[in-house]
């Protein structure tokens, strides 16, 4: 998303995206689709919303790179945790 000259306008546009993506997730969850597909799509939408908040509302897009690194650091540990969770799940079945 391009950052407009007016930050207020950007904040309002981001709010529109956040609300729209959230409602899209709720609607998708009601559709007759395989559960696994819905889970993947809705969690992808949640990740997109989190990214929008971090980049535009928490200003990581324009702030010092050091803060971005601090924000990204726990994601490696989260990936590790998710890897352990799903590897256990695969072993079980």
């Amino acid at each position: 998303m391009r950052e407009s000259a007016s930050p207020v306008r950007t904040y309002v546009v981001v709010w529109g995206w956040l609300a729209g993506l959230m409602l899209l997730g709720v609607l998708l969850a009601e559709l007759p689709m395989p559960k696994r597909t819905i889970v993947l799509i809705v969690l992808a939408l949640s990740s997109a919303k989190a990214l929008l908040v971090a980049l535009y509302y928490m200003h990581l897009k324009v702030d010092r790179r050091l803060l971005g690194l601090i924000a990204i650091a726990p994601l490696g540990l989260i990936a590790l945790a998710i890897g352990v969770i799903f590897s256990s799940h695969l072993v079980k079945f």
């Binding site: 930050p7 207020v8 904040y11 309002v12 981001v14 709010w15 956040l18 609300a19 959230m22 409602l23 997730g25 709720v26 969850a29 559960k35 819905i38 889970v39 809705v42 969690l43 949640s46 919303k49 989190a50 908040v53 971090a54 509302y57 928490m58 200003h59 324009v62 702030d63 010092r64 050091l66 803060l67 601090i70 924000a71 650091a73 726990p74 994601l75 540990l77 989260i78 945790a81 998710i82 969770i85 256990s88 799940h89």
Partner: protein, 196 residues
Amino acid sequence: MMHAHVLHAPHATLTGVPNGKLGMWVFLASEVMFFTGLIGAYVVLRLSNPAWPGPDGHLSVMLGTINTLILICSSATIVLALAAAQRDALPAVRGWLGLTMALGAAFLGVKGMEYAAKLTHDIVPSTNIFWSAYYTLTGFHALHVLGGILFNLWVWSASWRAPSWRRQGHRLELAGLYWHFVDIVWIFLFPLLYLF
């Protein structure tokens, strides 16, 4: 690179980031790990129980959706408070920050209604593993929302006196970072608890 979001850069630091802001980001990184532990435990339990959440009731998607919208709106209002602070428009700062606190209180009110509805039907943390996880995750999140409201209240109270604001106005940015983090946590909790 322009760092327009520093309200009152107090001192030059080695990192180029004000110490308070750096500290807040490190704190938030530790909070990510806290909630990752809880959500990770929830996912493991969820995968181990195909019949989830069981016959003891369900959550209202409508209330969850309303609460999510409330938090998304509150994230927008607090960032608008920050934009107003950068224009030195203190009355607007007070207005947006007051609205943020009101939305946070509304979120807690809806959550309280949900809790009351469940508790009157004797659905308590020990009912089954789903409700145990539900009360733990949402309870810790609600405590964070309450903490955010108190932080905002502290900043809001400083905005009424110009000398206090000159000393403490930069804390609005820290309060905003914390509030957005609380919003991000809920962005993931909502689908995990209400939609799947």
